[in-house]
Assembly symmetry: C2
Amino acid sequence: MSRVHVHNFSISFDGFGTGDGLTLDAPFGHAGERLHEWMFATGFWRSMAGEPGGSRGVDNAFGELYNLGIGAEIMGRGKFGPPQGGPWTGVGTDEEWRGWWGPNPPFHTPVFVLTHHPRPSIEMEGGTVFHFVDASPEEALNLASQAAGGLDVRIGGGPTTVRDFLAAGLIDVAHLVQVPILLGRGVRLWDGLEGIESRYDIEAVSSPSGVTHLTFTRR
Amino acid sequence: MSRVHVHNFSISFDGFGTGDGLTLDAPFGHAGERLHEWMFATGFWRSMAGEPGGSRGVDNAFGELYNLGIGAEIMGRGKFGPPQGGPWTGVGTDEEWRGWWGPNPPFHTPVFVLTHHPRPSIEMEGGTVFHFVDASPEEALNLASQAAGGLDVRIGGGPTTVRDFLAAGLIDVAHLVQVPILLGRGVRLWDGLEGIESRYDIEAVSSPSGVTHLTFTRR
């Protein structure tokens, strides 16, 4: 069985993993890009974008782990989009929506999108294949683990999906990044997770950039 | 006017400043003492308790600021207790309750307790005098500022009181301590504080003890 990781998952001080009012123009709602600015400044991110430079400190060290040893991702419908949810309509013609990431998404593996409205798989450039499954966390993990070819599975978000997998006891390693902003509204990561610290060794490392990296490693 | 500080105010990862189910035997409810263990290990705390030893690192450095330059405290009725709230009945005879801290409380200054049920002031040993006021945050701060004799005012908690003073824009310096536990329920500090980061310089410093010190300093 693959190990199950969360990487670079940003939350605000008040625990929101995304903002309120998600639209096609604002995939994180009123949060904008503020949850992810720490990552854009890293060498890891710059090199993915084909740009030189970027920081090489603790933010980058965590950032670089994103694809390391990962053979498949599971994401929620809320991350894949489009924001209105429901059946695959309303964005041009049915089933036109192919994610936020353009023709060559940054995953480069099979990606299992949790949805109550399955549709045919989509093969993208660069190795990403989106599969759409109406499945419990356990069922999705079995599928992803088989597809990962002996590598690990990343739970990609959004917050509801990470929370569901944490609550189901399916996460081995979670790397969360606490950003010093107060969003006030949006989707909370932490609801209903009382006592999960008993199952994990937890480290907190604050970065000169202002964020704090939290790592949960299963005991 | 005094400057207004919060010191050593602990919250869980999920933002709870106290637990659920507060009773006379469990002043922090199901949180127990878990939010404060980091402080009990410091030299600051040990010396207050008349004990030798204790840590002398970053937790202690922040801890020691608690009474430094403070001339008065404001606390909520929820911190003063008893837990059932309402009129001052139900704990032995009326008005018998004199706080959780024994005859010589650790404040050693005037303390203004916010309550909708004013009662006569109580003079304790060691300089602590409890005053009971039915007042807005601004009104209470005016009273405390006058009583502080040119020194600063500490907002002592609980979470509702700290949140109200933050929301009213009355806090100059807040030191919060994020403890790596998930309480899941209780009283949240962060509700309704969207965007307050724009008014503060914020630092995060993680400690080897596992907690992270967050400081908000008004710009």
